[in-house]
Symmetry: C2
Subunit: 206 residues, 2 copies
C-alpha cells in the first residue's frame, strides 16, 4: 500500500488551539508539512514574512488569483487570504501530507478540486471552555471575544461537511489522535485505488 500525499484541511473555532496543535503535529512527525497562506493584511508584531503568512499587496494577491497560483482563497474583514498552489503540489508529489489551516469556504473549495482531501474540525470540550480560553489569552477585548463567539455559532453549522471531528482537551493526546485519524483516512478505499487494482490484477494472473 503506497502512501500518497494528501491535503489535510484543519478548521475549528477561534480559540480552540488549532495553531498550537498543528505546530506540535509538524514537530512530532515528519510526514506532514504546514502550508503557509498568502494574505493582504499587515503583519502583527512578532509575525515574520514566510513563517506565519506571506504578506503581499492587493495587486500581488490579485495577480496570484489570475495566474491560478492559489488553490483556494477567501476574503475576511477587508483582507484576502489564500493558499499558494506550488508548495502544496510539490509536497504532495513527495508523498508528504500538507496541512491547511483554513475556514469552511476554503475547505469546500479544496474538497471540490482534491476529492482525496481529509477535512478535520477541531472541537472544544465545551463552549464555556472555548470562552475561557479566549478570555485566558488576555490579549483581546470583550468586544473581540464576542465577535469570535458569534463567528463560532456560524461555523458550527458546517461541521457535518467535515470528515472527522477531534476534541482538543489535552494537547498531547489530541496531537496523537489527529495523527491516527489522518493515518486512518489514508486507509479509505477511494484513496487506495491503485493498490486495490494491483491486487485485483494479481488475482487474475495467478
Amino acid at each position: 500500500m503506497n502512501r500518497k500525499g494528501l491535503i489535510i484541511v484543519v478548521s475549528g473555532f477561534s480559540g480552540v488551539g488549532k495553531g498550537t496543535l498543528m505546530k506540535e503535529l509538524i514537530k512530532r512527525y515528519d510526514r506532514y508539512a504546514l502550508s503557509v497562506s498568502a494574505t493582504t493584511r499587515c503583519p502583527r508584531p512578532g509575525e515574520e514574512n514566510g513563517r506565519e503568512y506571506f504578506f503581499v499587496s492587493n495587486e500581488e494577491f490579485e495577480r496570484l488569483i489570475e495566474e491560478n497560483g492559489l488553490i483556494e482563497h477567501a476574503g475576511f474583514v477587508n483582507h484576502y487570504y489564500g493558499t499558494p498552489r506550488k508548495f502544496v503540489e510539490d509536497k504532495l508529489s513527495d508523498g508528504i501530507d500538507v496541512i491547511l489551516e483554513i475556514e469552511i469556504q476554503g475547505a469546500r473549495q479544496i474538497k471540490k478540486q482534491y476529492p482525496d482531501a481529509v477535512l478535520l474540525f477541531v472541537m472544544p470540550p465545551s463552549a464555556i471552555e472555548l470562552k475561557n480560553r479566549l478570555i485566558g489569552r488576555g490579549t483581546e477585548s470583550a468586544e473581540v471575544i464576542d465577535k469570535r463567539l458569534k463567528r463560532a455559532k456560524e461555523e458550527a453549522v458546517g461541521i457535518e461537511d467535515y470528515d472527522y471531528i477531534v476534541v482538543n482537551d489535552d494537547l498531547d493526546e489530541c496531537v496523537q489522535k489527529v495523527h491516527q485519524i489522518i493515518d486512518a483516512a489514508h486507509h479509505a478505499p477511494f484513496r487506495n485505488i491503485d493498490f486495490i487494482n494491483t491486487i485485483r490484477n494479481e488475482l487474475f494472473e495467478l
Copy 2:
C-alpha cells in the same frame, strides 16, 4: 464526546487471516465484542456450539428469520448463515463495538439498517501471498484452494463499498492498525451528532 457502540463489519478474502486478527483484537482491547453467527451447517471437528457458531436446524433458522431475530443473513453452498440481533443490540447499548465477520451481501444489509456501521476490508499484501497462506494451511485440496481464489476475484469487485481497507502483513501491527481505524471512524461527525448539537446549544446559551 460520548463513545457510542458501533457495528464493525470485517470482511476479507478466505486465507487473509481475519479470524486470527479479530480474536487478537478482542483479546487486546475490552471495548470490542465478537458476534457469533447462527448457521445450519454441521459443526466441524473442534468447533463448539456458541463459540464458533450457533448450530441450528433449518427450521430453527427459518423461525429466527420470521421473528426478525437476525440482523442479516445469507446462503452459501446450501447452508444459511446469519447474525442474531439480540447479542448485537445488547452490546451496542452498553457502548461496546460489535465485530461481525461476514461477507459483502451481509455487509450491505447491515449498512442499510445501521448507517453508523463501519465496514472494514482486510487485504493481503499481495495475491501470491494470499495463495501461499491458503497452501500453507495444509488442510485444503488444490481444488478447494482454487475455489477460494475464484471467490476472492468476485469479492474484490466490492471493495469500494467498504469504509476502510487494512493490509494484514504483520499480525501485531495489523491488530493495532484496525483498532486505530475503528477509533478514527468513531470521530466522523455523523456518528457524533449528539455531541455536536450539545456544543451548538451551549454556544447559543453563552
